[in-house]
């Protein structure tokens, strides 16, 4: 049929947002749909307005790629009014949306933190670097906190990273932490962009053997770092390419009269360690990878 899909992304130039959008757009075009993309270039208000404009132009569905649904209440209300499916990827659950395709960030935070605690045997010193502004990052930290609450022997230092400038700030903060804490055991970082600078700082201080990093996201750069078996110990990887495809699928079935049974559709993440990391240049196979370290150990 003749479906018009409006895709909005608050910052299309961010690589993982681009992958979510591109995979969804490619699939929609395969289905013969007409697709229009709007890039907010960081401007959430413009992004919202663009979504409204799509609906005003009688688009059949809205796909929101990774801009917090909590900041799109007006858009979601309007979509409900016009009976237009509103599906998002990685944008959080709020009332009124058709579905959000994402991951259980709290659970992912728990996985990474549990693996970390196990590796330092439940005792030691850990630094957590995060940016407590994005909802997904807050959820991950919530998972991390929940795990750490169970290990009174682990001392946690929390650092709020400056955004923008996160990469450089993470590098500086990691350096300072390593200097100020000779007994530091590990870093937990909120998202993968911070892994490379922290790894650099660890290598530079010559403590590759004692200090490691865990994270969540699974961007190619970090998969590669993990594979190299350096301080980047593991990351909880998301299937971003699949998110776009699933989102379009959900829109398709909703338009056909079969809305999804639940509003929060989580995809299986994947625990990537040195042993389970994909070979250079290859991408992660989400159908086979494990979710817990034991599986990958047993799998080898």
């Amino acid at each position: 049929q003749d479906v018009k899909l409006g895709v909005v992304a608050v910052n299309y130039n961010s690589p993982s947002i681009q992958r979510q959008a591109d995979s969804g757009i490619a699939y929609a075009k395969e289905l013969g749909w007409e697709v229009e993309l709007f890039d907010g270039q960081g401007d959430q208000v413009a992004t919202n307005n663009a979504a409204m404009a799509f609906m005003d132009r009688d688009f059949d569905a809205i796909l929101n790629v990774a801009s917090a649904n909590t900041q799109m209440s007006g858009v979601i209300g309007y979509a409900n009014e016009k009976d237009v499916p509103f599906v998002s990827t990685f944008s959080g659950l709020v009332p009124g949306i058709t579905a959000d395709i994402g991951s259980n960030n709290t659970a992912d935070g728990v996985i990474a933190a549990t693996e970390l605690a196990g590796r330092i045997e439940g005792t030691g010193k850990v630094a957590a670097l995060n940016w407590n502004v994005l909802p997904a990052l807050i959820e991950r930290e919530r998972g991390f906190d929940a795990v750490m609450a169970g290990y009174p022997e682990i001392e946690v230092t929390k650092i709020e990273i400056k955004v923008p400038g996160q990469v450089d700030d993470a590098y500086a903060q990691a350096n300072n932490l390593l200097l100020a804490n000779p007994d530091l055991d590990a870093f937990w970082v909120g998202w993968d962009e911070l892994v490379a600078p922290v790894v650099r700082a660890i290598e530079q201080s010559g403590r590759e053997a004692d200090v490691f990093v865990v994270s969540q996201d699974g961007i190619p750069e970090v998969l590669e770092l993990v594979r190299q078996d350096g301080p980047a110990e593991l990351t909880v990887a998301y299937n971003v390419d699949r998110m776009g495809v699933v989102a379009v699928d959900v829109i398709k079935s909703t338009l056909e009269g079969n809305p999804p049974p639940t509003q929060l559709l989580t995809l299986k993440p994947c625990l990537v360690t040195a042993s389970s990391a994909p070979a250079k240049g290859e991408s992660l196979d989400f159908s086979t990878c494990g979710l817990f370290s034991g599986e990958s150990v047993a799998g080898n």
């Binding site: 960081g42 919202n48 955004v163």
Partner: protein, 336 residues
């Protein structure tokens, strides 16, 4: 006593049409029209609709409010780099106060908005006081202030966003509602533009501001105290930025502690300077700023409607700005 009287005859002999002068005045407006025509041919069914026009206006409304405020302080000759932080400030604190108060009433919302704008005006006036009383560089002082404001917002918020469910609907309607089909932000923008236009062009305060911007020493000797007008101008700039951020917050239904204003900072400067190359080259004025804001809106909307990739939007916007500057400078250059 001999007198030849050839000298003081017609000062402007019938000259040929002055292309350079024409271009320097009308070039920007012309390029705006040209772009509209271009996009209209490209996607006639989308671009040239009333809906899309309103959409463009809506897209630029927040940028417009911030840029209008910036125009005022540039008229006095002061740069304000704190507008980004002030926009975030306005959006966050309006939402935060409303959340803390927890009343769902028009009255409270209006009160909170006024309070936040007054607070922002005060911070702006503090900028103005520091700049004019101590004679320090406005660029750097406002930059420093923006660090302080950013820190305060982060400290107060703990990084946590205030969400729609915590904010009364009476507030969000400011950003999301419509009157007679026109989105509220557009109405606010038009109203603000009108008020500031009258203020700058037709009140004594505005005229004195232009005088200060033109020649500060001569103004002082005409009894116009710089510090007073610096205070007013920076206060207005701060309040307008906060208003912009506040409308953005109402539109999003969220009080975000970060990343609201930064997007608008540079574009506001671009818009105001494009404006100063329009109609009255070399002068900052509200109408010019409005044209600058529209130009940015049309470029972004048009290219996006045409399906052009984002990076082209950056390039085209930068390119057009350079062309606007060049056309505005033509008049000056040929004099030497």
């Amino acid at each position: 006593m001999t007198t030849s009287d050839t000298a003081k005859s017609d000062p402007t002999p019938a000259r040929k049409f002055d292309w350079i002068d024409f271009l320097s005045r009308w070039g920007t407006l012309l390029s705006l029209v040209l772009l509209i025509v271009l996009f209209s041919f490209g996607r006639p069914e989308v671009f040239m609709t009333l809906r899309n026009m309103l959409n463009i206006l809506n897209q630029v409304s927040i940028l417009g409010m911030i840029a209008f405020g910036l125009t005022i302080c540039l008229v006095v000759g002061l740069f304000d780099l704190s507008i980004g932080a002030m926009a975030t400030f306005g959006g966050y604190f309006a939402a935060r106060f409303l959340m803390e108060l927890g009343y769902e009433s028009w009255f409270v919302v209006v009160l909170v908005i006024l309070a936040v704008m007054a607070l922002s005006a005060l911070i702006g006036m503090l900028n103005g006081a520091l700049i004019s009383k101590l004679g320090i560089s406005a660029i750097v002082e406002t930059l420093a202030m923006s660090f302080v404001v950013t820190g305060v917002i982060l400290g107060v918020s703990g990084g946590r966003t205030v969400y729609a469910t915590e904010i009364p609907d009476a507030f969000t309607i400011i950003g999301q509602g419509k009157i007679a089909g026109v989105p509220n932000p557009v109405l606010i923008l038009l109203l603000l533009g009108l008020v500031l236009w009258v203020f700058l062009e037709h009140t004594q305060t505005g005229r004195n501001m232009y005088a200060l911007g033109g020649n500060r020493e001569a103004s002082r000797l005409s009894g116009i105290t710089f510090s007073k007008y610096a205070l007013i101008a920076m206060g207005i700039s701060g309040a307008c930025a906060a208003l912009g951020g506040l409308v953005a917050g109402a539109n999003l239904g969220a009080g975000r502690p970060q990343g609201v204003g930064d997007v608008y900072l540079l574009n506001a400067f671009v818009a105001v300077f494009i404006g100063a190359s329009t109609l009255k080259p070399g002068k900052f004025h509200i109408l010019g700023t409005a044209i600058g804001v529209l130009l940015i809106g049309v470029i972004n909307n048009g290219l996006s409607v045409m399906g052009v990739q984002t990076f082209w939007q950056y390039i085209v916007q930068g390119g057009i700005l350079i062309l606007a500057l060049i056309s505005a400078s033509l008049n000056t250059v040929r004099r030497t």
